[in-house]
Structure formats: C-alpha cells, structure tokens
C-alpha cells in the first residue's frame, strides 16, 4: 500500500477494504523506519495521527465520507497548526505554537484528511535544497547523497519515499515544483489568489502560494480542490475566481487540438543534456498525443531571477521584522537593552541564508537604492507578466523543464548562493506573473528524476490538468519504482 496513490487509498477506504487507522499506521511505520535516513519530517506525533484517523473512521461510519476522508497528508512546517509546533524550520520559532490553523489546514480538516506531521524545509522557505533548515538537511530518496530540492524538500522527499501519500507545500519561486521535479513527483502551484495565504508563515507575500505535492496529477487535483477557494480574511484571495472542475479536468487521455508553447529561452546552453533530451522526448510524446508544439519566445526570461531576488527579499525583510523577540519566538539570554535584545536574538535565531535575504531586501528598499532596485524589479515583473499574456495569444499552455538540472549533491552549492539561485531559473517567472504551474515526472537522467513544467494562463489550472493527465496516462514515469524503503 505505501506507494499507492491517494485515489487508490480512497477507493479502498470507500470499499471498506481498509480503515483510516490502518492507513495511518502503515505510514507511521514507514516514517519510524525511514525518516532517520531522510529527515523529511521535523515533527511527528503518532498518537495524535491515530486519534485523527480514529475520528475519521467514526465520521465515515456515521455520516459517510468527505472529500479526503481518512487520507494522510503531510504538511510543510510553514503552515500554522494548533496541534504541535510550527517553526518554519527556524531557530527563531523553535518554541512557537500557533494558536490557530492556517486556512488550508482548516480546509483539509473539514475534508476529513488526517494530518501526519510537519515536513522539513529551507528556513523560512529560503532555499532550493532544504539545506538551510535549522533541523538539518533533508535527503532525496532517489539518492541519499543528494538534495530533495527546496524549499518544500521535506514534503517532496516524504511523498517520493511513500512516508505519506501526499503533502502540502508552498511555492514562492519554485518551492513546490523544483523539489517535485528532483524527487520525481507531481506538484502544483495554483494561480496567485486561488488559495488563501492566511496562517501560512509569509516569505514574500506577493509571490507565496500553497499547493499540493502528490504521486499523480489526479491526487494533486483532489487536494487542490479541497484547499482552494475564497477566504475573506486574506485580502489577496480572489473572491470571484473562475472555478475549476478539478477532478473532471484529470480525465484527458489525448491532447488533440492543444497548442503547447515551447519557449526558446527555457532551452539554454548550460542546461543538463539529459534533462534537455527528456523534455524533448516528452514534447514528442505530446505531439504524438495530438498536440501542436509551437516555438514561442518569452523575451524577458533572463531578467526574472534578478527581479525575483530583489522583490522576494524586499518583502521578506519586512515580513520577518515581526520576529523581534518581543512577543514570541527566540529571545537571547540577559539582553542588556532593547537594541541588544533585537540584534542578539535575531542573530541567534536566523540562519545565514535568511540573514542574507533580509540584508539584500533591506538594502534594496533603502533610500537612494529603491528606484534602482525595487522599482526596476517591479518594472521587469510587469514585462514578464506581459510576455506570458502575449504568449497565451498563440498557445493554450506552455511546457518547459522545471529545473535545468537534476538533484545535486548535498553541500555542492551551499557556498555559492548565486549558483543555488539558478536552480529556480525556470520556475521563478511563473510566480512573478502569478500564473499556475505544475511539475510532473517525465524521465530520468542517471537514475535521477526529471520534471516537466506546465504553465497556463491565470485561473486555467484545468488546462494544465488536461495536458498533464493525458501525458501521465500515456507514460509510465509515475510508476517507476524507487530503490528506497521496499517496493510498491
């Protein structure tokens, strides 16, 4: 069972072949056995997981099943939960317990899901490898020497290794899609404004969006259906967003009439040849399924990373000011005065990458630099958004590699932030434009997974699901057995 899809588990629960408690135990056993190798979970409370599973079985017996009844779902440590700690994998929040659930957590609970624990991540979601976590790096089950991507690396690793059938992540510049890609799973970043950000610890407010990480397109859609929708307590949650038939959109088996854009800027020198070959093969498969592949251009792509690394740190520098040791979070021992309390608490509480981004953002917003950095970056953002609007005049969806490379080795890029930042070169523009994006498995290079990224116009997640489900049905990549922790 552990390598089953969410929808398979649901079928067996519905058929009475298993119970939520039995399912929960299966995954708790695997977590106990394998989390030591992976460090995918940073908090797990087995008794509480079983309580939820028992309650779910009781609910099913009495009222019937809700949308995610009894299904175990892991959540990134960035989601506030009333149960257990919420630490964003930072020492500054090492003793923090949120007195509220994030909106999406409430939605999952209302759908009957069983929350199986908090997954590892880059501290405050700042990173592409889950190496900046205050609780130690997470590992990729395809190769324990390698990173699981980031920042939602714990969620990706947990799903790939079947420590949970599905998970929630967040995506600010690729933090769902890039780890999904390098861990060989499916991850969806919805349109900005589709999913409430309330109760999700903010990194960069204009870019952050929560989404599902799962084994298949349909599994991801099941979770997306549960967590999306308007929240009046998040002013950026869009009240009249066009609805999507999440599950209905996953029934496609062909791509007849679909125009797929292939942006030349996403097939660049320096990208891994194997990755390029895998994507070319995937696009050939799409053509075989009836799609028309159209060469397009997104001319401002090369400025995306630079713009992102101004905008995201700028917003983060303000978002992280609340960790001031006054009301909650880490406070240093015996502060001499207010300034000492601020500086020492924050120095002790934040890791190097978080400090780097706070400094970058503070600098970019400073008097005399604001126009040259922040304003310029916003102008670039407008151009990038326009690139996509223009492209979607010609095509229905865009396909690209999710990442130019497969999973790299732990420690390989930790001393070189710039190279690390380039891991997100193909995902960042989608956040800047607020568009939906998905990564799904499309092959392997030397035994390491490669991800295919789908991009659609705002609110058209259905187009992504159409294409991705047809591709998934025509290929076997999601069924490729992993050489980790036993067999499916």
């Amino acid at each position: 069972m552990p390598f089953s899809t969410l929808s398979d588990i649901q079928s067996r629960l519905d058929a009475g072949q298993t119970t939520a408690v039995a399912v929960a135990k299966t995954y708790l056993d695997r977590i106990a056995a394998f989390n030591g190798d992976l460090n995918a979970f940073v908090d797990i409370d087995p008794a509480h997981v079983l309580e939820q599973a028992e309650a779910s079985d009781a609910y099913r017996a009495k009222h019937g099943a809700r949308a995610l009844e009894g299904l175990p779902i892991a959540v990134k440590d960035i989601f506030c939960t009333q149960d257990g700690p919420t630490r964003c994998c930072s020492n500054i929040l090492k003793d923090f317990h949120a007195p509220y659930d994030a909106h999406v957590i409430t939605r999952l609970k209302e759908a009957g899901a069983v929350l199986v624990g908090k997954t590892n991540m880059d501290e405050f979601a700042m990173g592409s490898s889950t190496e900046t976590s205050a609780f130690g790096p997470c590992r990729n089950p395809w190769d324990l020497e390698r990173i699981p991507g980031g920042s939602s690396g714990g969620s990706a690793s947990a799903v790939a290794a079947a420590l949970a059938p599905a998970a929630l992540g967040t995506d600010t510049g690729g933090s769902i899609r890039q780890p999904a890609s390098v861990c060989g799973i499916t991850g969806l970043k919805p349109t900005y404004g589709r999913v409430s950000r309330r109760g999700i610890i903010a990194f960069a407010s204009s870019l952050d969006q929560a989404g599902p990480m799962a084994r298949t397109v349909k599994d991801a859609a099941m979770i997306a259906a549960a967590i999306s929708g308007h929240d009046s307590m998040d002013s950026t949650s869009v009240p009249d967003a066009p609805a999507v038939d999440w599950l209905g959109a996953c029934d496609k088996t062909d791509m007849k009439g679909l125009r797929i854009g292939k942006p030349k800027e996403y097939f660049v020198d320096g990208m891994d040849a194997g990755v390029r070959a895998a994507i070319d093969a995937a696009l050939a498969e799409c053509a075989a399924l009836g799609a028309e592949i159209v060469d397009i251009s997104l001319p401002h792509t090369d400025a995306a990373v630079a713009a992102y690394y101004v905008i995201a740190p700028s917003e983060a520098s303000a978002n992280l000011s609340r960790y001031d040791a006054v009301r909650f979070g880490h406070r240093c021992e015996n502060p001499e005065d207010l300034l000492d309390m601020y500086t020492r608490s924050r120095d002790e509480g934040f890791g190097a990458e978080v400090k780097r981004r706070i400094l970058t953002g503070t600098f970019a917003l400073s008097s005399g630099y604001y126009d040259a950095y922040y304003i310029k970056a916003q102008q670039v953002r407008t151009l990038i958004r326009q690139d996509f609007i223009d492209a979607f005049e010609q095509v229905d969806v865009i396909a690209t590699p999710t990442s130019p490379i497969t999973a790299f080795k732990l420690g390989e890029k930790t001393d070189d932030p710039l190279t690390m930042y380039l891991s997100d070169i193909f995902t960042i523009a989608i956040n800047l434009a607020g568009l939906p994006g998905m990564s799904q498995p499309c092959g392997f290079v030397e035994g390491l997974p490669v991800g295919l990224q789908w991009i659609a116009p705002a609110w058209r997640e259905d187009l992504i699901l159409n294409a991705a489900s047809a591709y998934e049905a025509a290929t076997d990549w999601v069924k490729t057995p992993i050489n980790f922790g036993g067999e499916a």
Binding site: L93, A202, T236, A318, V326, R327, Y370
Partner: protein
C-alpha cells in the same frame, strides 16, 4: 530685520470605528491592557490584514469636508521600523498614493479668513503603547491600541504664527467632531499633532525646519511653537544655524530638546503593502458618502443667523459642537415662538450654569423641553425674567418642571391691573412729596416708584404693567 515664520502641521486623528483598521478587535478606550488584541494586531506569523471599509468611508467623508480630491484608487504601503509596540515591525500606511489629496480649510484670523492648504489625508494604523514609568528596569507594552485606525492630515506650510496654527487645529478639531469621524479627545490621544517649524527672512527660500513631537493640547502646541520660533531666531541671530531634527516638547519645563538629528533619522524603507490590494471607490460610492454629509459648522452658523435671526456671536456659540446645535434646535422646536429668546437663555443662562459645574451639554440636567416650559412662562407673563433665572437655578438641581417650581415658590407674576393699581395707590399715599415732585416735572422719579411698587409686591408685579399703570395714575 523682521522674520517670517513658516508652520506646517501633521495631525493624527483616530477614526471612531467600532473595530480596528485591519482586524475585528474593539477600539474601546481604557480596557485592561492587551485584552483587545488578536493574532492580526499582535503581528503573529501568517496573519493578514483586511481593511475596515467604515474607516475608509469616514476618511473619504473628511476629505470631502475639506474640499479635497478623493483618489478613487489609493494604495497601501509598509513603513518599516523596529519598536516594541509596533508588532509587525512595520506600520501599514499610505505613502505615494493616499486616499485624499489637495484640500483646504478656511480659518479665522485677525483680519478675516485665511485659507490653509491640506496636502493630503492618508489612512494608517496606530501602534501600541509602551509604558516605562514605575517599572523596575523593564517596560510594559499594551497592544490594545495596535491597529486602531488613524487618519494623518498633513497641511501645507501655510501658517505664519502659533495663533494661526491653533486656529487651524481648532477648526480641524471641530470639523472631525461634526463629521462624527473621531472622538477627537486630545487627552486620550485621539487627536495628536506634530508641528514643522522654520523661520526665514522675508523673500528668502524656506529655512531648515525642526519637527516638534508630542504636542497633546492646544496650550502646549502654542507654547512649543513659540518656544521653537524664538529658539531658531536667536540661534540664527547669534550666527548659528538651524539643523534639521526632531524635537520633543517637555510641557512641564516649557521647552523642547533634540530627540534625533537628520543623520539619526529613520530610513523607513517604504514599499507597497503586498497583503492589501489597491483601495477602490466608485464615483457613485463617493457621491453617496457626500450625500450623507452632515451640516458643517460654517453652514450651520449661517443658517442659524438667517433662519433664527441670531447674532453672529450667538450663532457661533451655539454651533461650537454638533451636540450644542442639536440641543438648540430641539429647544426651538419646543419653543418655536421666539428663537432669539431660546438662544439668549441657552447661551447666556444655561451654558453659564453648565460651565460652572463642568457639565457637558449632552449631560445637562435640564432638557430642551423643560427649558422651553420655562420660556413659555416668560412669554405669557406668568413670571418675570428675573424670577425665571431663580426658577432655572432650581431646575438645575431638581427634576420638577418650571410650573411646579413657580407654584411652590409663589413666583407667579401679578398682572391683574386692579391688584397692581391697589399697590400703586398705597405707594403714592405713602410718598406724597415724591408724587408732588413727579407731577411738577421730575419724571426721573418714575424709577423710584417702580422700585417701591416692586418691593411692595415682593417682586411679583409684572414690571411692564407697573410701568404702564404708574404713568397713568401719577398723572392724576
């Protein structure tokens, strides 16, 4: 050589909504510390602001009342600084694109009126309060005020002395009270003022300004500005130079001291607030707010003069606050025969008595209806005006109406000509010499007779009738 003084004012006005700017917490003043807080106004992780539209509408109303432009699209920004009573480490405010711009107020000055430009009004949130006094080496923080809605009203540097600044502030204070957009209680910090002051020689460009903070009464504002003007003039005349700085006024010492200089000035790193979309109003919504605009002090004053025939002075007194004007109009409704009598009795008699006891018109022990009952008795000659003042005194401490007090005290005026004639004849009989004198041409003696008759009637004789009958009977 003379000096020109240039003053601009920034006024923070708490908007009197029931709930805070970005969350549902109460804004009630005076609650136990930290009892009116929630994860949003405590700046907890992941919590997001949702704008209080009532506060936005009240800000628009204020903008309309100062004849300003309402920006149908305005934006929110973050102003970054660390302070323990600022939970998020930034204040949500409006920087480049505020909701209100380009307004003005006309203020009374020595020789008529002066127009003071208002650059902008923007919406923002208040911080909490830090308490340091009486605590042993620690500070306490009360976040009940964190997130309370504020309007910051920024004037042009159009005021030329402390008196003009005070006139502007009083006008603004009266306006926000009339609009019912703020409690505007200065002691409770609901109406706070910072002053930018500079001096220059006539015809020269603007001098370097100092910003005065912590000005929480009209008296202190006047003192602080005057102190600052003198300080700057003396400094320059002694060959020194004014530096740009923020100064804190110490009301106990009557002087200011430097709080921080230009080099220590905060870089607030303003940038657009990504948690809030632009604030949008349609012209129809703005028009609806305008349609709900109450009568403003100036309009009310003019109407009182024309509709009720009041003197400019009385009209001004009775339109100082919305409560006063409403009270006056209730009195006129209950005693429509003589609006001027209503004004005299309210402005001179009632308000005088209330002032002595420090009572607000809203808490007046005498209602408009009860005062009207008294005025009726003056109008129908039941009592004299003099006696009526005694009756009003009694009404201030009793719940009886005027008639009951008049009866109980036997103050009813004698207006029966037979009874008055009888008293007059008694007085004439007792003063034959004066009668002779009067009849011989000493008409001034009439006053003597009036006094005697009033005395004999123990004040109850109707003075008008006494006059009239005396003249008739003395003729002989």
């Amino acid at each position: 050589m003379s000096w020109e003084v240039v003053i601009g004012l920034e006024v923070h006005v708490q908007v009197n909504t029931k709930t805070k700017q970005f969350c549902g917490c109460s804004t009630q003043f005076g609650a136990e510390p930290n009892t009116q807080t929630c994860p949003v106004c405590l700046g907890m992780p992941g919590q997001l602001p949702v704008l209080n539209m009532e506060a936005a509408r009240k800000t628009v109303l204020t903008g309309l009342a100062i004849n300003a432009d309402i920006n149908l699209v305005s934006k929110f920004d973050r102003k970054n600084y660390f302070y323990p009573d600022l939970p998020k480490g930034y204040q949500i405010t409006q920087f480049p694109l505020p909701i209100v711009e380009h307004g003005y107020l006309d203020i009374p000055v020595k020789d008529g009126e002066k127009r003071i430009g208002i650059t902008r009004i923007h919406m923002e949130e208040d911080a909490g309060k830090s308490m340091h006094e009486g605590l042993d080496g620690v500070s306490h923080i009360d976040l009940n005020r964190s997130g309370v809605p504020l309007m910051e009203i920024v004037s042009e540097p159009d005021m030329a002395d402390a008196d003009e600044a005070i006139a502007y502030l009083k006008q603004l204070h009266q306006l926000v009270c009339f609009l019912d957009v703020s409690g505007a209680n200065m002691e409770k910090g609901q109406f706070r003022c910072d002053a930018n002051v500079s001096v220059r020689r006539p015809g020269e460009p603007l001098g370097t300004r100092a910003e005065l903070k912590n000005l929480n009464s009209f008296r202190f504002i006047k003192q602080a500005i005057e102190y600052e003007v003198n300080r700057q003039i003396e400094l320059i005349e002694d060959g020194g130079e004014v530096v740009q700085e923020t100064r804190l006024f110490d009301s106990a010492k009557g002087e200011s001291r430097s709080m921080r200089g230009k080099e220590e000035a905060h870089d607030y790193r303003y940038f657009p607030e990504p948690d809030l979309p632009p604030l949008r109003f349609t012209q129809a919504e703005v028009d609806a707010i305008r349609a709900g605009m109450p009568e403003l002090p100036g309009q009310l004053r003019k109407r009182f003069e024309t509709e009720y025939g009041l003197s400019p002075y009385d009209a001004d007194v009775l339109t100082q606050t919305r409560d006063l004007a409403a009270w006056y109009e209730a009195l006129v409704a209950a005693h429509p025969a003589d609006p001027k009598r209503c004004a005299n009795w309210m402005a001179n008699e009632l308000l005088g008595r209330l002032k002595e006891s420090g009572t607000d018109i809203a808490e007046s022990p005498v209602s408009p209806q009860r005062l009207a009952g008294l005025l009726e008795r003056i109008a129908d000659n039941t009592i004299s005006g003099k006696a009526a003042k005694d009756v009003l005194d009694a009404m201030m401490t009793s719940e009886d109406d005027a008639d009951a007090i008049i009866d109980a005290r036997g103050l009813k005026q004698v207006s029966d000509s037979g009874a008055i004639d009888a008293i007059i004849e008694e007085v004439m009989a007792a003063n034959p010499a004066q009668v002779e004198g009067y009849r011989g041409g000493k008409e001034k003696l009439l006053g003597f007779f009036v006094g005697q008759v009033m005395k004999a009637s123990r004040g109850k004789a109707n003075p008008g009738m006494v006059n009239q009958r005396l003249k008739a009977l003395l003729k002989g």
